[in-house]
């Protein structure tokens, strides 16, 4: 099931648009991608080592915080008896949002026959995997009694207890678990032909054995390619509904409640769009870094930035419209709690952050109407970072505003973050950077066989 949706025919003539001349032969593609991994002596890894040290330090901060939470309890955070959710849940929602873009880029764009995805999908899928894994840590850290997290699974037990299937938190557990395992599978399947390329390019024995084992003996026969394509397309067809259901469940974590501002029917689809938005922004940041770090200007071109910036422009408009819909519905529905909450958002304790969020998510991305900005890599990178900050603000404010301002005025409390909140948040960025850096050192960062196919389409008449 495929459909040609997005690129006009005269522009799809892929290679001319999506690669530079120096990357337009099969061997050039292989060389650009594989050389950093196989010809180490000719490559400088200095920036990589610096990044690794910084991310190791941040990861240590993350681990120390998690250890402290397990040791002392969640009281070391800024959560209180009213604002019972804090940074851990916001970080969870933020990371899981980032964790959806890889699957979206791979699946949805594959179904829409967008050949340009070939040079971005590999690291986008890696990003998905790492972000979803980190996201999966937060709810457990947040549990309060994390030693009982396995009670979420139905297993034979002497207490004769079952999970509460009607709870959105149980859906969450299953959705994340399914998604992470699915993402690993999807990623690995796409990697098999590239591992075979690495195996056959390796000059020394150790990498040949390492990549050879991962390639499972892939030989590129027409039979293998045929079943590979069948499987990859079928997984893509499943990936889209899975990713949509996962983020809807995250939305249901909030919407399946009675809280003002949360009990909204728009929440599930709005979380999906928000996740796509922040995920694309993170993919663009990583694309700019990978392009610079691996000198891949020939494979990741300004045309990639241009088209993804257009997607983000559309998403920013939908996000703005979703915010406006919530405000309008609160007013139109006439419930006092809802109206009072919207007033609190605009003028209450967290108002400066709220205005900053609107600036980051809705106003600044309008710069993407300009094609000059869309094809300026530095500008796109900066705006993508801003969008990611804005999306994090959105996630924390969804929690803070509603919990700080629910039905009972006597229960109104504010959230004051502690140093452990911040260390947990920035530490998780370090853990992500660490995993990503290890990934680019070991695994081909661009899908060689898909770019080869893209390049070959330009050569055959």
């Amino acid at each position: 099931m495929t459909m040609a949706l997005t690129i006009p025919a005269e522009r799809t003539a892929g290679p001319e648009r999506w690669t530079l001349p120096e990357a337009r032969s099969l061997e050039a593609v292989n060389a650009i991608v594989a050389a950093p991994l196989l010809e180490r002596s000719s490559w400088s890894w200095r920036a990589w080592w610096i990044g690794l040290c910084v991310s190791l330090a941040a990861t240590m901060a993350f681990l120390v915080t998690v250890f402290l939470v397990f040791d002392r309890g969640i009281g070391i955070w800024g959560v209180n008896s009213t604002v019972v959710w804090g940074f851990a849940i916001a970080d969870y929602v933020w990371w899981i949002g980032i964790g959806n873009a890889g699957t979206l880029i791979s699946s949805m764009l594959l179904l829409m026959r967008q050949s340009w995805r070939a040079s971005t999908n590999r690291f986008a899928e890696a990003m998905t995997l790492f972000a979803a894994t980190i996201a999966g840590i937060f709810p457990i850290v947040h549990l309060g009694r994390p030693i009982y997290f396995y009670w979420l699974t139905p297993y034979p037990n002497t207490m004769h207890l079952w999970p509460q299937w009607r709870s959105a938190l149980i859906w969450d557990f299953w959705a994340i678990l399914s998604y992470i395992l699915f993402s690993i599978l999807f990623w690995y399947v796409g990697l098999i032909p590239d591992f075979a390329t690495m195996r056959d390019r390796a000059q020394t024995r150790a990498p040949a054995i390492f990549y050879g084992a991962l390639a499972l003996g892939w030989c590129g026969s027409s039979r293998q390619w045929h079943v590979y394509e069948k499987l990859h397309l079928a997984l893509a067809c499943l990936g889209v509904p899975l990713v949509v259901s996962l983020h809807s469940v995250v939305g249901m974590d909030f919407a399946a409640s009675l809280m003002p501002g949360w009990q909204e029917t728009i929440f599930p689809p709005y979380f999906v769009v928000g996740a796509m938005y922040s995920g694309f922004a993170m993919v663009l940041c990583l694309a700019a870094l990978v392009r610079w770090g691996f000198r891949m200007q020939g494979l990741i071109t300004t045309a990639h930035f241009d088209v993804m910036a257009k997607v983000m422009l559309a998403a920013s408009i939908i996000m703005g419209l979703s915010y406006a819909t919530e405000w309008f519905n609160a007013w139109y529905g006439g419930q006092h709690a809802d109206r009072s909450l919207v007033a609190f958002e605009f003028a209450g304790h967290y108002a400066p952050m709220f205005w900053a969020l609107l600036l980051c998510n809705v106003v600044i991305p309008q710069a993407f109407w300009s094609s000059a900005i869309r094809s300026n890599v530095i500008a796109v990178f900066v705006i993508s970072v801003i969008i990611n900050i804005g999306m994090w603000l959105e996630r924390i404010l969804i929690i803070w505003n509603t919990l700080s301002h629910d039905y009972l005025p006597s229960a109104w409390r504010m959230f004051l973050p502690t140093v452990w909140d911040w260390l947990l948040t920035f530490g998780s960025l370090g853990l992500f950077a660490l995993m990503f850096l290890l990934f680019v050192r070991i695994i081909p960062v661009v899908s060689m066989h898909e770019v080869r196919k893209l390049v070959a389409e330009g050569q055959s008449p």
């Binding site: 027409s222 390619w225 997984l235």
Partner: protein, 174 residues
């Protein structure tokens, strides 16, 4: 078993032609090895139709049914528990777990079928030892041909392959 001839090409168009014209040129193409999928050759080689999708469908649907059955058994039969006056078999709330697990198991079934049909893992494929093979995962197109027993036929086939543009032709044990 008969021996194979491996003919290596650099040009995709000439390679496809050599693979297609095999019947006229009196050699039998056993398999082709390419650095990216060439769907147009798949039909020529008369492989069996893949069963990946039916297997995934059955695996996914059975898992979803099993997951719903588990929810139903635990919430309506084994441990009925009134939660906010909702029905014991609260179907709207029971949809998401079968959905997610169904998709996961469908994917796993697809992967298993893929391994089976692609005959993987096969780490000791003798092909890898052949000189002319390694390029097939990089930038070369390799044609595997049933090697004629007769020496004259063999040289005729070799000649034809060279005419088609093969840059090297190797004889290997399968």
């Amino acid at each position: 078993m008969t021996q194979l001839l491996l003919a290596e090409f650099t040009d995709q168009r000439r390679f496809v032609e050599a693979a297609r014209r095999g019947r006229d040129a009196q050699y039998r193409v056993v398999e082709v090895y390419t650095p990216y999928p060439l769907e147009e050759l798949h039909d020529e080689l008369s492989h069996r139709e893949s069963r990946i999708r039916p297997v995934m469908f059955v695996g996914g649907v059975l898992t979803a049914a099993l997951a719903y059955g588990l929810e139903y058994y635990s919430a309506a039969i084994n441990y009925p528990y009134n939660s906010g006056g909702r029905p014991l078999d609260a179907w709207p709330a029971f949809m998401l777990v079968p959905f997610a697990t169904g998709i996961l198991v469908a994917a796993v079934c697809g992967f298993a079928t893929f391994l089976f049909e692609a005959r993987l893992p096969y780490l000791s494929n003798p092909l890898f030892a052949a000189d002319g093979y390694g390029g097939a995962t990089q930038d070369r197109f390799v044609l595997a041909i049933e090697c004629p027993q007769d020496g004259d036929d063999r040289s005729a086939v070799t000649k034809r392959l060279s005419d088609f543009g093969a840059i090297s032709i190797q004889q290997v044990e399968p």
